[in-house]
């Protein structure tokens, strides 16, 4: 009986004109997004390699190893084909040298602002927005539509239990939506292999988990559709309600939670932070100046009553001590300012982390946010991507600086230049190097931070669990609603 009901549900979906339309739209969207994603990836790889080459050549062309500046680029990842996440928003390179801090600059969107307007359509977007909407389109009349049609009454005029019917309904719709969707997804994966995207074993695990997550997410919306359809008598009403729920859950709630977290845990802006730092710096230097004036006054007082000769002798005697004292005070000011800056940045960062955490936890009320966060974690294009890259670039900077210092020491060239002015030859500037390029053999290469499958899965496990709980709650509610459903 259950098998028969499932078969009917499946057939009912597959034979409906809306299925043909939605299947075509989904397939075109998924395949187009994967194909364009692959092209983007290949372009990014070409650009990445060229940029690395240019950075190396720039080093080789440098006059000496002193103050050589390298550039580290964010390596493109095949995962961005599926979940672009923050890939397009975060800077793609940072200067690497001992005289500048690591800062990722020039994000893809800042270079190509046109694409930032409507943003890149990736697979995660299609699942989060398009497929969830389609899941609702196929389920809004799952129960009340059959009542309006008279088929519910006709079905329950037979020995069919409500539990059996609801389970069959769910399984039938699930198979009718998910299995056909797997076809374009599998073709997309095939495209990945055919078009030579180097996907590692870890990344395949992440892709598999991501597809599993997408299935859970669509399952949730199938459940919501069945629930609302079981709570209403008319399909027009359930459609309207579901549309409101969908807009609220997918579009509004994630943004609202970010705004709410912003209000609940305010974090100072960069301008505020800088002005605080500046205020402290000024106050500290003012304090130093006034202390210095006092000191000098005290020193003058020590010399009062002395003759000019005695005063000169005393000054000569104390001068070095005073200089050291003043220098130590000045150094202390620098240390205090640096400490304060670090403290303020740390405070802001901690507050930002609390805000982020609160925003994410609030956003997770909506499975759309859970899905997005888990997808980005799996793809490694999450909010921590910036930190991971900056940290690994800092580590690389240490290696690079050590390497350049060693090279510098070996070459003995301090990097100065000589200007000869002669009546014979005019002005001649000599950089003290021969025409040889710098030997960059053995130069440490920057490698992107590795996100292991374990890291990716463990960071998204919370959202997987939440999704599972959401699904259980929704199906429990749908079950209870249907047990009380008036068949007439």
């Amino acid at each position: 009986m259950t098998k028969l009901l499932i078969e009917k549900e499946l057939k009912n979906i597959l034979l409906s004109p809306k299925f043909v339309a939605t299947f075509l739209v989904c397939s075109i969207l998924i395949l187009t997004s994967v194909y364009i994603g692959i092209q983007e990836y290949h372009n990014a790889v070409t650009q990445f390699e060229a940029n690395q080459q240019i950075a190396r050549q720039d080093i080789e062309q440098a006059s000496n190893w002193n103050r050589v500046r390298n550039i580290a680029h964010r390596a493109p990842s095949p995962m961005q084909v599926f979940v672009s996440g923050l890939h397009f928003d975060i800077g793609r390179l940072s200067g690497i040298s001992d005289f500048q801090d690591i800062k990722l600059i020039r994000s893809p969107y800042s270079d190509e602002t046109l694409f930032a307007i409507f943003r890149f359509i990736d697979f995660a977007f299609i699942v989060q927005v398009v497929l969830s909407l389609f899941a609702i389109l196929f389920t809004y009349d799952a129960i009340n539509g059959e009542r309006e049609n008279g088929t519910l009454k006709l079905t329950f005029a037979n020995s069919v239990s409500r539990a059996q019917y609801l389970i069959s309904k769910f399984v039938g719709i699930w198979l009718g939506l998910i299995v056909p969707l797997l076809i374009p997804i599998l073709i997309g994966l095939l495209l990945i292999m055919i078009l030579d995207v180097p996907v590692s074993g870890t990344e395949w695990i992440s892709i598999g988990s991501f597809i599993g997550l997408s299935v859970l997410y669509i399952t949730f919306f199938i459940g919501v559709g069945i629930l609302v359809s079981s709570l209403t008598r008319k399909s027009s009403l359930s459609f309207l309600l579901l549309l409101v729920i969908w807009i609220g859950g997918v579009l509004i709630l994630p943004r609202m939670s970010i705004m709410a977290a912003g209000q609940l845990v305010p974090v100072q802006s960069v301008a505020q932070l800088e002005s605080k730092q500046e205020a402290f710096r000024r106050a500290r230097w003012d304090q130093y100046s006034s202390q210095l004036s006092q000191k000098w006054r005290a020193r003058s007082e020590e010399m009062s009553g002395m003759t000019n000769e005695e005063r000169q002798a005393y000054r000569d005697d104390k001068e070095w001590e005073w200089l050291e004292e003043d220098d130590a005070a000045r150094k202390q000011v620098q240390i205090d300012i640096t400490d304060n800056n670090r403290k303020l940045i740390e405070e802001t960062d901690n507050r930002k982390k609390i805000q982020e955490q609160l925003a994410f936890n609030l956003a997770r009320i909506s499975p759309a946010s859970s899905f997005r966060l888990a997808a980005m974690n799996l793809a490694g294009t999450d909010i921590d991507m910036k930190n991971r890259y900056e940290e690994s670039m800092r580590a690389y900077r240490d290696d690079f600086v050590e390497y350049t210092e060693q090279k510098q020491a070996e070459s003995g060239n301090q990097g100065g230049f000589r200007i000869n002015v002669s009546s014979d030859s005019g002005v001649k500037i000599d950089f003290g190097r021969d025409d040889q390029t710098l030997d960059t053999s053995g130069m440490p290469q920057y490698t992107a931070p590795v996100v292991t499958a374990g890291m990716a899965v463990s960071s998204s496990i919370l959202d997987f669990g939440l999704m599972g709980i959401f699904i259980i709650i929704i199906f429990g509610a749908a079950f209870l609603a249907f047990l009380r459903y008036d068949m007439r």
Binding site: K11, G150, K153, F156, A157
Partner: protein, 263 residues
């Protein structure tokens, strides 16, 4: 043995005992309804809108629970053991809709198998659809292109193929053209002759009189009159029914009702 067979034959296929239904808003839809449908009988329930006909059918189908009293299908309590009871019944609604994207054969196949009959072949379906008068060109057409009469024919074909002892018909001829209505009545007459027990709610007094073995008139949930076909011959049912429908006759004039019931 003959006596035993006679007893089995005479056990009602559909039976309502003191069936009462009071809805949550206090409306009494059924008030102590008693009726029996024996094998080989058609029982027509006549009555206006809100008289309690559909409520009776809904209780037999376990779509609603009676406030008191019992409904039995082939001796099984329809509300206590609904799944078991429903194996003994086929139902044709007022407006058979079925699945619009399925063909006639696909719809019949689904509902007949849902009714527990898995041993039919396509030719059996075709025979049944032919029998109900559906054109063979329509067998593989989707239901969305069917007229009400054609859908109704599919509904009765499903009931025929389910081959259950009892059949419930909820206003089966409403909205059908005279020819289709007549055809429909012929078909249920055939089913009755095969020994089915049929409970039919209808507004169609003429067809009820023509085909039913028993006619019951419901008014505000009360069975105000019950007559056999033979008894009806001596009574102007049309006048009586119209008077009941118009509310001319009520409990203030119980004598005629009693006379009718006892006649």
């Amino acid at each position: 043995m003959d006596t035993m067979n006679e007893t089995i034959k005479q056990a009602p296929l559909l039976e309502a005992r003191n069936l009462t239904k009071v809805y949550e808003d206090g409306v009494k839809a059924l008030d102590n309804l008693d009726l029996q449908v024996l094998p080989g009988e058609i029982y027509a329930m006549l009555g206006g809108n809100g008289a309690g006909k559909t409520t009776t059918i809904n209780i037999f189908l376990d779509f609603i629970q009676p406030t008191s009293g019992q409904a039995f299908i082939n001796g099984i309590n329809a509300n206590e053991e609904p799944l078991e009871a429903k194996t003994n019944i086929a139902f044709v609604s007022e407006n058979v809709q079925l699945y619009p994207n399925f063909t006639a054969i696909q719809n019949v196949d689904f509902f007949v198998r849902l009714g527990g009959r898995h041993n039919y072949s396509r030719s059996d379906y075709e025979t049944a659809l032919n029998r109900v008068g559906l054109q063979s060109q329509a067998f593989d057409k989707k239901l969305k292109d069917f007229s009400k009469g054609m859908r109704q024919k599919c509904g009765i074909a499903i009931a025929i193929l389910k081959d259950s002892p009892a059949i419930l018909l909820d206003e089966p001829t409403s909205g059908l053209d005279p020819k289709a209505g007549k055809e429909f009545i012929r078909l249920i007459g055939e089913l009755r002759d095969e020994g089915k027990g049929i409970l039919m709610s209808t507004h169609d007094i003429f067809r009820a009189k023509e085909i039913a073995n028993h006619v019951g008139i419901l008014n505000n949930g009360i069975l105000v009159a019950q007559k056999t076909q033979a008894e009806l011959k001596g009574v102007n049912l049309e006048t009586l029914y119209v008077e009941y429908m118009a509310g001319y006759m009520d409990e203030a004039e119980p004598s005629l009702v009693n006379n009718l019931s006892e006649a």
